[in-house]
C-alpha cells in the first residue's frame, strides 16, 4: 500500500535521502512519513498536536509524539535526525524564529516549506486591495490558521539572520520545482537548511 501524498509533498520527498531518520514537525495525518517509510525506507517520528491526526498516525503505523510545537523541541537531542521536515507548520507558530533554529538543531538538515505570499496571484490580490484567497491559501483573513505571512524572499532573510546555512531553496508550483523567480512564480517556498 502506498500512502497518498500531494504533489508538493512528492516533490519534497525527492529531496530526502533513502534510509534517512526523519522528524516531521506538524506531521498531520502521517501520510508523508508513511510514504517515506514505504517508498524510501526512512524511519522516524512525527510531531503533531491535533487528536484526530495523532489517531490517524497510529492507524497508519507512523510513530507520533503528541506535542505543541510552540513549546519547543527539548525532547529531541542535537543532530539526532538526518532530516527534520517542517511542511506548512512555520506559519502557524507563535515562535517561528525559535522553531527555525530548533529545526536545524535537532536535524542535520532541515527542510522548511511554507506558502509563499509573494506568489503573483497573492500580490495581484493585495494590489487590488484584498487579502489573497487561493487554492494554496484558501482562508479568509479573519479565519486563517496562519499567523505568519512570509514570502520566499523573507524566509531567506530570516534564515540568514538566524545564522543558518541555506543549502538550497526553490519554489514548488503544481508539483513542479520552480527555480526561476520562485518568489514570484511559486505558491510554495522550500528551503533546505543546516547549521
Amino acid at each position: 500500500m502506498t500512502s497518498f501524498i500531494d504533489p508538493t509533498q512528492q516533490a519534497i520527498a525527492e529531496w530526502i535521502p533513502p534510509g534517512s531518520r526523519v522528524l516531521d514537525l506538524g506531521c498531520g495525518d502521517g501520510a508523508m512519513l508513511a510514504h517515506l517509510q514505504e517508498a524510501r525506507g526512512c524511519s522516524g517520528y512525527g510531531v503533531e498536536i491535533a487528536d484526530d491526526n495523532v489517531l490517524e498516525c497510529v492507524r497508519r503505523g507512523v510513530q507520533v509524539i503528541q506535542a505543541n510545537l510552540d513549546e519547543g523541541l527539548s525532547m529531541f537531542e542535537d543532530a539526532s535526525f538526518d532530516v527534520v521536515l517542517q511542511i506548512d507548520t512555520l506559519q502557524h507558530l507563535r515562535n517561528a524564529e525559535v522553531m527555525l533554529r530548533e529545526t536545524v538543531r535537532v536535524g542535520k538538515v532541515g527542510i522548511v516549506a511554507h506558502p509563499n505570499f509573494g506568489h503573483w496571484p497573492n500580490r495581484w490580490s493585495v494590489l487590488r486591495g484584498r487579502m489573497p484567497v487561493t487554492p494554496r491559501l484558501p482562508y479568509s483573513w479573519y479565519d486563517t490558521p496562519n499567523i505568519r505571512f512570509g514570502t520566499h524572499a523573507d524566509l531567506s532573510i530570516l534564515a540568514r539572520r538566524c545564522g543558518l546555512h541555506i543549502l538550497d531553496s526553490c519554489g514548488i508550483q503544481d508539483g513542479q520545482v520552480v527555480r526561476r523567480f520562485p518568489n514570484l512564480l511559486a505558491s510554495t517556498s522550500v528551503y533546505r537548511l543546516s547549521r
Binding site: 531518520r21 487528536d51 497510529v58 492507524r59 510513530q63 539526532s80
Partner: protein, 386 residues
C-alpha cells in the same frame, strides 16, 4: 463475554526478592480472556494499579456489579479486543485479592504473615508474572499494558525481560515518584499505622480492622486521583441536601451548621463514602506494602539517575499515554519516559489526552483515549502470526 473465573497457580519454587528476602512458596491468582492462538503470540498481560486485582474484565456468574476494573477497555470488540488477543490479568504477591499476601500463612511459621510479609517491588512483581507466563507456556508477550503503578510494571517488563515483550503500553505513569507523591503515600501510611486498631499490623489476631486509617488513606488518595475542575464540577461548594432541608431557617440565611464534626459539604460526603467502601474490602498491610512499591520504583537509580541509560535495554515498541489534568502522574513525567526512548531511538508513540478527569482518566471512557489504544492494538493485531 461469558462469565469469567479466577484461577490459581501454586509456585513451589522460591521467589527471590529485591530486598534479599524470599517468598518460599506462593500462589498467584489470575484470570484470562480470549483464546491463546496456535503459535502463542497473542498474549497481552494487564498489570494492575494500587487497589485493583486480576479481575480486569467480564463478570462473575451470579454476582451483579462484578465487572472487572478495566471492562471498558478489555473484551470482545473493545480497544484491547479479546476476539484477537489472549488477555491475562494477574494479582500481584502482597495484594489482598487472592495471590499470597499478608493475610496468608507464612509457610515457615504456619502463622499469618501480617506485617512480616516481605517488602516487594515492581521488579519482584514482574518476576512473579514472568513465572506465571512460563507456567502458561507463553514465551513472548504481544503486549504488556498498565496504567499508573501498572504502567510502571509494563515499563519494568521491557527492562527485565526485553526479549519477551513486543509492545509496552504505559498509561498515566511515571519513571519514579516525585517527593510530593511519596509524601501523599506517607500520609496514607501514617493514617493506617496510627489507627489504634492497627496493632502493629497484627490486627488479624486482635480481630480488628484499622478502618479509620484505611478511610483516611483512601480519602487522600482519592483527592489526588481527581482534578480540581472535576471536583468543582461534581461537588463545587454544594451542601448536602439534608442540611439545607433540615435547617430551621431559609438556607440563604443560615446555610451552615457550623459543625466541625458533621458532614456539611457534598465533597465531604463523597470522600467519606469512598473511604468507607474502601475500608470494607482493602487490607491495611497490603496498602502499606503497595504504597512502598510505588515509592521504590526507579529504574534509573542504578544508572546514576539517567533514565536514558536505564531504558537502553528496552527493545519493545512503546505506546505512552498521559492525561493533561493528571497532576499525580503528570504528562511531564510521561514525557520523561518518551524522551529516554527517543534518545535510544526506540519506536514510541505518545498521546497526551486532553481530558478533565485527572489521574482517574485512565480507567474512564474517553473516545480519544480509547481510540488511540484501539488503533494501536489493531496495528499490533495486524502483525500477529507473522
Amino acid at each position: 463475554m461469558p462469565y469469567v473465573n479466577p484461577q490459581y497457580l501454586h509456585f513451589a519454587d522460591a521467589l527471590p526478592l529485591q530486598s534479599g528476602a524470599v517468598l518460599r512458596e506462593y500462589d498467584l491468582c489470575f484470570e484470562t480472556y480470549g483464546t491463546l492462538n496456535a503459535d502463542r503470540s497473542n498474549a497481552v498481560l494487564v498489570c494492575h494499579a494500587l487497589n485493583a486485582s486480576h479481575h480486569v474484565a467480564g463478570e462473575y456468574e451470579g454476582q451483579s456489579k462484578s465487572q472487572g476494573w478495566w471492562d471498558n477497555m478489555v473484551g470482545p470488540g473493545k480497544p484491547i479486543d479479546t476476539n484477537v488477543f489472549f488477555v491475562i490479568g494477574v494479582n500481584n504477591p502482597g495484594s489482598c485479592f487472592g495471590s499470597t499476601g499478608p493475610m496468608h500463612p507464612n509457610p515457615d511459621t504456619g502463622k499469618v504473615y501480617g506485617p512480616d510479609f516481605p517488602v516487594v517491588t515492581v521488579e519482584d512483581w514482574v518476576d512473579a508474572q514472568a513465572r506465571l507466563l512460563d507456567s502458561l507456556g507463553i514465551d513472548t508477550l504481544s503486549a504488556v499494558v498498565g496504567g499508573s503503578l501498572g504502567g510502571m510494571q509494563a515499563l519494568s517488563w521491557t527492562l527485565q525481560y526485553p526479549q519477551r515483550v513486543r509492545h509496552a503500553v504505559v498509561i498515566a505513569s511515571a519513571p519514579n515518584l516525585t517527593a510530593e507523591n511519596i509524601a501523599f503515600n506517607e500520609v496514607a501510611r501514617r493514617a493506617i499505622v496510627t489507627d489504634p486498631d492497627f496493632h502493629g499490623g497484627n490486627y488479624y489476631a486482635h480481630g480488628t480492622v484499622p478502618k479509620r486509617g484505611l478511610r483516611i488513606a483512601r480519602m487522600i488518595g482519592h483527592i489526588t486521583y481527581l482534578s480540581d475542575d472535576v471536583m468543582n464540577e461534581r461537588f463545587g461548594r454544594q451542601l448536602r441536601d439534608a442540611i439545607v432541608a433540615n435547617a430551621a431557617e431559609p438556607p440563604q440565611q443560615r446555610p451552615y451548621r457550623y459543625s466541625t464534626q458533621d458532614i456539611e459539604f457534598q465533597i465531604e460526603s463523597y470522600l467519606r463514602y469512598q473511604g468507607d467502601k474502601f475500608a470494607e474490602y482493602f487490607d491495611a498491610n497490603t496498602y502499606l506494602l503497595i504504597t512502598r512499591v510505588l515509592d521504590y520504583f526507579d529504574p534509573a537509580s542504578r544508572f546514576g539517575g539517567h533514565l536514558t541509560e536505564a531504558l537502553r535495554r528496552a527493545t519493545a515498541r512503546f505506546l505512552v499515554v498521559s492525561f493533561t489534568t493528571d497532576w499525580r502522574f503528570s504528562p511531564k513525567r510521561s514525557r520523561e519516559i518518551v524522551k529516554a526512548l527517543l534518545d535510544n531511538k526506540r519506536d514510541v508513540t505518545y498521546a497526551e489526552i486532553d481530558t478533565p478527569h485527572g489521574h482517574d482518566a485512565f480507567l474512564l471512557d474517553d473516545a480519544r483515549y480509547h481510540g488511540v489504544v484501539r488503533a494501536y492494538f489493531s496495528r499490533v493485531a495486524a502483525t500477529l502470526g507473522r
